[in-house]
């Protein structure tokens, strides 16, 4: 039972990371109708910025704050320079354009930071496990990730549901032309939303950097999972992204944790060992396929879409 709680926490932690990525992706897709394959590159940039700034300032927290600002600025610059010409064009053009950006960013990072990758070291007091309830130890840094992401989710909720900017974002999402006709500067709004999405991706990247290390192409695999999350959650819905991210995180982790033992009961050890990782990685895609068949709009379809 205690072991089960530990694995649940692992699942929630993975879900939190996926939420950060998926929230930005779903904001950009839902409001700007833009398919952004370069979202993973912003995640990578966040991690590289954090590693660089943390090394320069000697402080993890200061490095993280600077990196967050830097990814926001990068996102805004990217939108102005490269994304604007893509608006109003077909999704295929979006995919081609942003895939080109993904390759560009990988090469850019190779030129600037070199091919070997970087390490973002945690302060030594983070290299420990905390006893949360008697008998359950959990890595301190992963608890920090869960707490920080919950805080970000709450801030995002307040921003979108309780502020004037959020109202404009929601207005732009439900009817772009009408919002524009009423005097909302849609161009500026899009730039801000893209910057916000970039900052969320950058935050995910910098939080994950100490666990996964920083390397070229680190955003690509995780981006696929983030797309799965927004499809399950309902495109454009931040609430949907939150719920779906936790579901996907839990399914992936629980599958990895318990499937090998279950399979071992029916198969020989070697077959079970080989089959389990393959099956557990398939499980979330099977869930996505099921959702697409029975609820193609996702669990929480965004209104008016």
């Amino acid at each position: 039972m205690l072991y089960f709680i530990e694995q649940l926490l692992n699942g929630v932690q993975l879900g939190m990371l996926l939420f950060l990525l998926a929230a930005g992706l779903t904001l950009i897709f839902g409001i700007m109708d833009l398919v952004n394959l370069a979202h993973g590159s912003l995640y990578m940039l966040g991690a590289y910025f954090a590693a660089t700034f943390a090394a320069a300032t000697g402080s993890f927290v200061l490095g993280a704050v600077l990196a967050l600002a830097a990814t926001f600025v990068s996102g805004v610059a990217l939108e102005v320079i490269a994304i604007r010409p893509l608006y109003g064009r077909s999704h295929l053009d979006h995919v081609l354009g942003t895939f080109g950006l993904l390759l560009f960013f990988n090469e850019l990072v190779r030129l600037v930071w070199g091919p070997a990758g970087m390490t973002l070291s945690l302060p030594s007091e983070m290299l420990t496990a905390v006893q949360i309830i008697p008998g359950v130890y959990y890595p301190a840094y992963r608890l920090v990730i869960i707490a920080a992401t919950l805080a970000v989710a709450a801030l995002l909720y307040i921003l979108v549901m309780r502020t004037r900017l959020g109202m404009l974002i929601r207005a732009g999402a439900s009817n772009r032309e009408m919002a524009g006709a009423l005097g909302v500067n849609i161009k500026l709004l899009y730039t801000l939303v893209f910057g916000l999405g970039a900052a969320l991706a950058g935050f995910a990247g910098l939080m994950q950097a100490p666990i996964l290390t920083v390397q070229i192409g680190m955003g690509e695999n995780i981006l696929i999972l983030a797309f799965v999350v927004i499809i399950i959650g309902g495109i454009g819905s931040i609430r949907g992204a939150f719920v779906a991210a936790i579901i996907v995180g839990l399914i992936d982790t629980i599958g990895r944790a318990f499937l090998p033992d279950l399979l071992r009961a029916v198969l020989n050890t070697n077959a079970a060992l080989t089959l389990a990782p393959a099956l557990s990685s398939m499980s979330i895609y099977m869930l996505m396929a099921g959702i697409l068949v029975f609820r193609p709009e996702g669990l929480f379809p965004a209104a008016n879409r």
Binding site: M118, A140, T213, G217, A257
Partner: protein, 390 residues
């Protein structure tokens, strides 16, 4: 009458000699990973190969050399395609490289069918040592089981009674987990294969290891995955509780990124940068001078390949069509290896020593791997009986 004849002959010689020289080039195809995170390994191998050629004055057996580098992208299907390209369109005399066991296994058929002289400088799939051994395929590395088997011996010495094993789910991962079990006398309380190469977060598996309460954890995570695993092992707070034993997880490429986290984590290897032989001293010193970094075992094995090929081409006096002659010479392993000399088994896999290595802080504030002790002397892989070559 005579003068024009001489002039004519001279002119003919002038025309003919560049053509002959062109024919007499040793063409080497080199397959490794040059993109993605594992490019760090590929670059180390390429740098070592180039250094090896420099040390021979850019000549193999006295002939000029041309090297064609190809990237396998860690994908078996790309590896086999690049192998076929090197054989069919570049018509290379030798193929060198291969980091990954699944890539060499996929590429083996075209290599063997075309009888291309091949030197595998890392991948050590068990099939390659056993039933799929070939007269034209040599290895300057090891068979996958040998290194973890040496770690298993060391775990016995340390009195480890129960162990939890982890590795990635591909050919080498399976070999490694099997290898440690051939020598480790204690009980295996759990083993996990993780998705490869895309799984980089080991939280679920580390929780499992903690719950299994073993005396020790043994892992095999090559390249960047090793950095990730050792980092997460430290973050999970297990470092003080359950000791870690490794194969191919901490090397000269990952050490600068792991720093303190790697100190005190033992591993086994057939080559360490401080092995006290002259060939190695020259290799390590010149590598550091040229590339401003320390070579890894991947590089050392690849550097040895240059000398091995040179010995073969020298023995047949540059007649590259004499594959039998080259094969016989290579079987003697008559060159100065940076790991100290070794001999080949019947399956063309080295019979060699394995050492215990550890990481330490150096005087200048950096980190370095060093040899602690010899674990096993003249070790031969256990698959050589299955190889039909005698």
């Amino acid at each position: 009458m005579i003068r024009p004849l001489i002039a004519g002959t001279a002119a003919l010689a002038l025309v003919a000699s560049p053509a002959m020289a062109q024919q007499k080039t040793v063409k080497i195809g080199f397959i490794s990973t040059f993109s993605g995170p594992a490019a760090a390994i590929g670059n180390d191998m390429r740098n070592s190969f180039e250094l090896g050629l420099d040390h021979l004055g850019r000549k193999i057996g006295g002939l000029p050399v041309e090297v064609v580098y190809e990237d396998d992208e860690i994908k078996p299907e790309v590896g086999v395609q690049k192998t076929q390209k090197l054989i069919e369109s570049d018509k290379v005399d030798f193929i060198v490289g291969y980091i990954w066991s699944n890539v060499i296994l996929a590429s083996l058929k075209p290599l063997v069918d075309s009888k291309t002289m091949t030197v595998v400088t890392n991948a050590g799939a068990s099939q390659l040592a056993g039933e799929l051994c070939s007269p034209y395929v040599f290895s300057t590395s090891w068979q996958n089981d040998q290194t973890p088997a040496a770690v298993g011996l060391y775990m016995n010495q340390k009195g480890v009674k129960t162990a939890f094993l982890m590795g990635p789910n591909y050919a080498a991962g399976k070999d490694m987990l099997a290898g440690v079990q051939t020598t480790f006398k204690g009980q295996i309380v759990g083993q996990e294969l993780t998705r490869w190469p895309d799984q980089l977060d080991f939280s679920a598996e580390l929780s499992k290891a903690r719950a299994a309460k073993p005396d020790a954890i043994f892992v095999f995570y090559p390249g960047g995955a090793g950095v990730q695993f050792v980092t997460q092992y430290a973050q999970s707070g297990l470092k003080g509780q359950i000791p870690l034993y490794t194969a191919f997880t901490i090397d000269d490429l990952s050490l600068p990124r792991l720093k303190d986290l790697a100190v005190g984590v033992p591993g086994a290897q057939e080559w360490v940068n401080d092995l006290p032989n002259d060939a190695n001293k020259k290799f390590v010193a010149d590598f550091k001078a040229k590339y401003k970094t320390t070579p890894s075992f991947y590089g050392a094995q690849t550097y040895d390949a240059v000398a091995l090929i040179d010995s073969a081409v020298t023995a047949v006096k540059g007649d590259l069509s004499n594959k039998e002659g080259m094969r016989k010479e290579m079987e003697k392993a008559d060159f100065k290896s940076v790991r100290g000399n070794f001999r080949f088994g019947n399956n063309h896999i080295p019979i060699q020593n394995f050492y215990l290595q550890d990481a330490d802080k150096t005087a200048d504030g950096g980190y370095a791997l060093h040899t602690v002790s010899l674990i096993v002397k003249d070790d031969q892989d256990k698959f050589h009986d299955k190889c039909p070559m005698k």
